[in-house]
Amino acid sequence: MKLSKYPYLVQKEILDDMKNADLFWLSFVSKNMKTLIKSSQVKRFQSISRIMYHSSFGDKRIVSIPFKTKNRKGTEDILELEGIMGIFGDCKASEDDCFQLNVSGKIIDFRLSNQYTFPEACFHPNDKESAIESIHNYFLNFFGNTMEYIWRAKHPEDIIPHLSNLSLWISIWPNLSQVIDLKNLEKFFASTPVLKNITMKLDKSEPFSPESKFYQAETISIFHQRSKSVHALLRHFQGRQATLFYCEVDMLELIEFLNRWRSGEALQKLEYLKIILRRDGPWHWQPHEILNANWVKHIESTKKPPIHSVANLYTPGPDYKPNTNPITSHTYVVRKTDNRVASISVQEGDFVFGVWKETEKEFLRMVE
């Protein structure tokens, strides 16, 4: 069966029926084949929104493409991952299951996996950085750069490659007995390229220093923060979106945060903040009391406020839950420096803050 004997449209239809992973491995067969795939699959590749370098076990990684699909019953959207290749580093490939490929000019060993449906790259630890760079360059050349490439790290010891078009997600989830070494973590953050997201469980730790790169992450999701850490985060965060789960927070801290935002001195990039308060804390205040401040403005209760929602920067897949949860609130505050509005919602102990692109005048025009 000689594929090249088929007319172009038949070849294209066959390629259309193939999975991304199979197209990826097919592209290594020849330069002409790679060119055919790239030219016939432009639309498909442009529709890929993210390629992830997932942390698997230890230093091992799986490169995959998240995609939205339906659950078995067909009733709900779910997110699945299409695995493309494994990057398993320090492993030995036997002659039987091993093959070599020229990946962006570097010869890399691959082996067929018993565990996964895709091959794994094997290389000497000393070659790790250059092998990962070659692999990443091949991905960029093959799939293009219209999608986000995300490197996901789980431990401060993880290798973080400094490569073009590569963002970083950090998820640190220590077990109950583990105490996080803040200094080590600070060093780790400082060594990283652009921090796209940090997701952390911070039960027992003290706050990061005000200069920490931690606060520069574009999005942050924090679990179980102690009051001091929440205070520091609200004070020093320079990113765009933050969600704080089950946190201890004081009313004064929230008021200080709102005042700082209103002044325009800080938090200029902030788009969305959600704080889910700990339900078991000895609270002497009710979160909705914050709405009684005289600088919090109110839309008449008979009118319908506009609904706030922005692109969710930390969605597991951009097609899957692409936006932040909508905020429908009659209360808002206005920033002094540019008159931009932020809706505030306090419901069932959750404090949600969403910044509009509109000024107060434009915002009020959207009220029905």
Partner: protein
């Protein structure tokens, strides 16, 4: 239609009293056409089954052949092997007037047969069958290494592609030189 119109129509034949309320329309006799492949074995196929093939459907739609004329003029498909044409005819008969299922598991498993079937189906423009065939061809390389894929689909290496390209250029150059020489000869 009102009952008066029906009752007073003098041209209408008297309806039998036992006729069912909604009598089925009289069946139009199905027309048949004939095709043969490389082996000259002629297959009789109904026009309904041949509708799957855009190529044949376009050919027969305005012919208005009688049964005899159709029999005397089978469509020759000399580029299609007899057994492949038989497969195509069987498929068209099986799926005559039926919605096509999302998958077809009756396609040939041998890669050479499947390869020929794809070429025939593409030539005859049978869209649904082409879709099934292409899916089957794509499945052949699922989870395979690049070298395994190269073997299955007989994909040339870069060196082979380069050599073929050089050869094609050489041939084109020779042909161009030949044409120039011929043109010069004509001018003399």
């Amino acid at each position: 239609m009102s009952s008066t119109e029906q009752g007073t129509s003098s041209a209408a034949p008297a309806e039998p009293t036992t006729a069912p309320e909604s009598a089925a329309a009289p069946e139009v006799p199905e027309s048949f056409y004939y095709v043969h492949g490389k082996d000259k074995v002629v297959h009789k196929v109904s026009a309904g089954a041949l509708q799957h093939s855009a190529l044949i459907h376009g050919m027969i739609s305005n012919l208005g052949y009688t049964e005899e004329q159709a029999k005397a003029n089978p469509f020759p498909f000399e580029n299609i092997d007899g057994d492949i044409l038989q497969m195509v005819v069987d498929w068209c008969n099986q799926h005559k007037g039926k919605p096509t299922p999302p998958e077809d598991t009756n396609l040939p498993k041998q890669k050479e047969k499947l390869f020929d079937l794809v070429l025939a189906v593409n030539y005859l423009e049978i869209k649904e069958l082409l879709t099934y065939c292409c899916k089957q061809v794509a499945m052949m390389v699922k989870g395979k290494s690049p070298e395994e894929i190269r073997e299955i689909w007989m994909i040339p290496t870069d060196a082979e592609d380069e050599a073929a390209e050089k050869e094609a250029k050489k041939r084109a150059g020779k042909e161009a030189a030949g044409e120039t020489a011929a043109a010069a000869g004509d001018a003399k």
